[in-house]
């Protein structure tokens, strides 16, 4: 017997969809602490956060073709007296979303691992830039991010991760021009 075509999915009534169009949806995958532990288990994390000089920002922007924030959250991962890598928490603004992510670099500046920490979709909503920034300014290592609720499994069009690629390129330029000599 042919299967009924509509039996395998349920349609979301248009009325409900219209009343609640694209709620700003934040997904929290990992806290900063969890990411640091996953990337550098057992290492001591030394806060090496940077406030860039104007000259540094210009140089990084030129090298990475990206706009550079005023500050960057960076930790040096140490085991005993030796440096085992760098742990950087960064954020990028995509077309419709804010993404906070963590990058682990080897001591010689190669990307070891990237984890998305938080993904916040803002489809149709106003970009609340200030509010977002507030969340991370002054965030110290060890302070726990509030973990969000259930993660929605969404099948829609592919979201491009190009903004992350651009962000990582900026972080590699930051390593090259600032951290490497630090």
């Amino acid at each position: 017997m042919p299967q009924s075509g509509a039996s395998w999915f349920t349609i979301v009534p248009a009325a409900i969809a219209a009343v609640a169009p694209a709620p700003a949806c934040a997904t929290v995958y990992m806290s900063v602490e969890q990411a640091a532990h996953a990337m550098f288990a057992g290492a001591k994390m030394v806060d090496r956060s940077i406030t860039f000089t104007d000259a540094q920002r210009k140089a990084i922007a030129k090298a990475s073709r990206a706009s550079v924030p005023k500050t960057q959250h960076v930790w040096e991962a140490r085991e005993g007296s030796s440096r085992v890598g760098w742990f950087i928490v960064d954020r990028v603004l995509g077309k419709h979303e804010y993404i906070t992510y963590a990058v682990a670099l080897t001591p010689d500046g190669a990307v070891k691992r990237i984890e998305i920490l938080e993904y916040r979709e803002t489809y149709g909503g106003e970009v609340r830039n200030a509010g977002w920034r507030q969340q991370f300014v002054g965030k110290k290592f060890g302070s726990q991010l509030k973990l969000g609720g259930d993660i929605k499994n969404i099948s829609g069009a592919t979201l491009s991760s190009r903004h992350i690629t651009d962000g990582v390129r900026r972080l590699l330029a930051t390593w090259q021009l600032v951290l490497r000599n630090g």
Binding site: F9, T10, A22, Y29, I116, E121, K152, N153, S155, G156
Partner: protein, 274 residues
Amino acid sequence: MAERVTRCRPLIGTFVEITGDEGAIEAGFEAIERAHRLMSAHEPDSDLSRINRFAHEQPVEVDSWTAAVLERAFFWSRHSEGAFDVVAAGAAAIASGYLPLHDGQPRPVAAHWTRMEMCGRTVKLQKPACVDLGGIAKGFAVDRAVAAMKATGCESGLVNAGGDIAGFGPQPWPVQVVQPSDRRAIANVAISNGAIATSSVLPDGSSGHVLMLAGGQVSATVCAPNAMDADALTKIVLSGSPATGRCLDIAEAQAFVVDRGGAIAAVQAPRVAA
């Protein structure tokens, strides 16, 4: 039982979410990373880029994973009467600047899947061409991740690579299908040891892989036993090919399409009477 968590990494050009226990998640990401290294059009030394750079001059040997994806791409090209065509997709992607031309990579001359030949794990192009696996490799990567997770003993898990989703385990996984343009929820589907994929023609980065468009649909969602077939079938459904129903039957898949206003229509396959 190990605690179930969800992790997300940027891979294969999108955000890959994996839910399961920590060990299984790690195994799943390793599989996705392997597929990424082999089949990324952006890495100049991937299997895919080596095909596009050299296979018109000499046979290029590829990994068994790449060969498996190419075999299935051929399969769907044949059965869809060319509606699914990774060589035509590649030519279009280069023409529109969607994919890069690497050093020493010729501009595509051929734009038809029959210009590609395969023998075992060896690939040859009759003329310079560009193979774009964007319409199928993501689904394959999801399937491999699921297999890798199961191999660790994980009993339930979900892998979502930018909307190409496969889930396994005793409980069905709820999946929300959204309108690509504004992410508005349009349908709910439960995935139980199977896969779902959605492709769209709206401007959001995924339209590069869709070659033709039938009447007014903006996205197609396919539910199939595996994510690779679901991924490829979304392109066939959107193409409006007369072979669509047969292709869905072959894969034991089901599909619906969505128009610009968000109206859903199940794709009725002209099935053989029982």
